[in-house]
């Protein structure tokens, strides 16, 4: 898809969030075009979830601005949805919370994510992967322009993870949905991601998955593990510290980050 939409779905400029005197987000720029899939990677505590929350308007940044396209509808899959067992809830009822949809539409969306048979099940008996599928179907029922997924495969077994990522890419492609997701597993999402944003409080690097994966700052954060799993590209672009941790080589910031630099395949 060419850069047809002049207005980004969502855009954050200079986003800074301070917590306990430390910057959780440090002048982060991000913009998403419609139909684009952007994956945010970064170590634990890098501010990934905070960035999603700021972009969705759940919290205000200390400085910087967020612009959402007027009328933007967001389908959100939080990292965890711990439904209290004290609350009796079937899948059917979960799908009708806040959403006016016909029963056929509900069943269609469920079928689309391979969860048609779960409609009358109690949500408390679903596995991690089943609940994710149901929540994805629920998000799709809102007919969103943008899917925001925070670690969408957490608590799902390995084969289920690949299936879920495939499913997300499939439903997004079918609708030209924008997808913004946080993920640990870059090698799983490589093929379906247009752009990767590597975050460690600030934007370390951003761009096409291939270029990010070769970037010294990315390798500094994830080391050989991340680079080596899917395709064996493990050059020693880093050195190891005294306790074995990965340290960056002196050369960093090979290219300045440009938030409007979309890479569409």
């Amino acid at each position: 898809m060419p850069n047809a939409a002049p207005m980004p779905l969502i855009e954050g400029v200079g986003l800074t969030v301070i917590r306990n005197g430390e910057p959780v987000l440090d002048r982060v720029d991000i913009a998403m075009a419609s139909g684009e899939t952007v994956t945010i990677v970064g170590p634990n505590g890098a501010g990934k979830t905070t960035l999603l929350r700021v972009l969705m308007g759940l919290m205000r940044p200390h400085s910087g601005t967020v612009t959402r396209r007027p009328g933007l509808r967001i389908g959100y899959l939080p990292q965890q949805v711990p439904i209290d067992p004290a609350l009796p809830l079937t899948v059917r009822r979960l799908l009708s919370l806040r959403i006016d949809a016909t029963n056929e539409a509900r069943l269609q969306r469920l079928a689309e994510v391979g969860a048609r048979d779960l409609v009358d099940r109690s949500v408390h008996t679903l596995s991690g992967g089943e609940l994710r599928r149901v929540l994805l179907a629920r998000a799709l029922l809102r007919e969103p322009d943008l899917l925001v997924l925070d670690e969408p495969v957490q608590g799902v077994d390995i084969t289920g993870q690949a299936e879920l990522y495939g499913l997300i890419a499939q439903v997004a492609r079918a609708r030209t949905l924008g997808v913004l997701m946080v993920s640990h597993e870059l090698h799983f999402v490589m093929a379906t991601t247009d752009r990767v944003l590597c975050l460690n409080h600030h934007v370390c690097c951003a761009g096409a998955p291939e270029s990010v994966r070769a970037h010294p700052e990315y390798l500094a954060l994830f080391g050989g593990e991340a680079a080596g799993v899917a395709v064996y590209h493990h050059h020693h672009d880093h050195k190891h510290g005294a306790s074995g941790e990965v340290l960056p080589l002196p050369h960093t910031h090979t290219e300045p980050h440009n938030p409007n630099d979309h890479h569409h395949g």
Binding site: G57, Y76, A86, P88, L89, T90, L97, R98
Partner: protein, 268 residues
Amino acid sequence: MGDFILRAALGGIGVALVSGPVGSFIVWRRMVVFGSALSHSALLGVALGIVWNIGIAPAAIAVCAAVAVIYLALSRDRRVADDAVLGIVAHAALALGLMVVAYVETVRADLLSFLFGDVLAVSVADLAWIWGGGLAVLAVLAVIWRPLLAMTVHEELAAVEGVPVAVVRLVFMLAVSVVTGVALKIVGALLIISLLIIPAATARRFTTTPESMALVASLVGVVAVLGGLQASIWWDAPAGPAIVLVATVLFLLSVAVAPLLAHRQGRR
């Protein structure tokens, strides 16, 4: 059967009906501490209602609502945990209520009845407050039902989907304040919370949707009220505690019976 029994039954049934859905949300949202703190602070309302001669129910509702609002305002400070803030505000109100009680002869005489309820002394005016307040709460709850349920499942998800979570939370807390104020006469400040949570906890084992749980909770509450009244007549027992004990027996029965039903109908 005397009129006072009829009034007691009508008052108790009114409170039980509204307690079902409100109590269910208290259980789902883990607000039991909030509910009981609020009901303790209602004692200040009782004292002020008598001293100023404005009626107990409206004064108690006003005090509970004020406590809820102050709690919400103060709990924005993350350095003191929410339940600590609640304990401070609600028990400051309780202490203030006890001060008033100590200085005013007429209130002191009735203290026990406001702590444990005086259902056999329910007046027509009390009935008007119970049914008026109860129906108002049910109407409001019907309006906020879906957004409140959505934010009970996941607050941030609901916020992204456009639920004004702060407003809905406040409205629900005010609804709990109204229920507390009108239920004082039936079970008393110390036991209101049990009439809210025991029927809901009992209903959980037999239901698969939020709505059916709220409805069954109301019915369990009605059975507990009628059973408790009957017990208090037979054995000349205080009615408020008798109602709570009957509810507790129903809960224990549900614990014993539910596994048998679950075995027959599949998992919940």
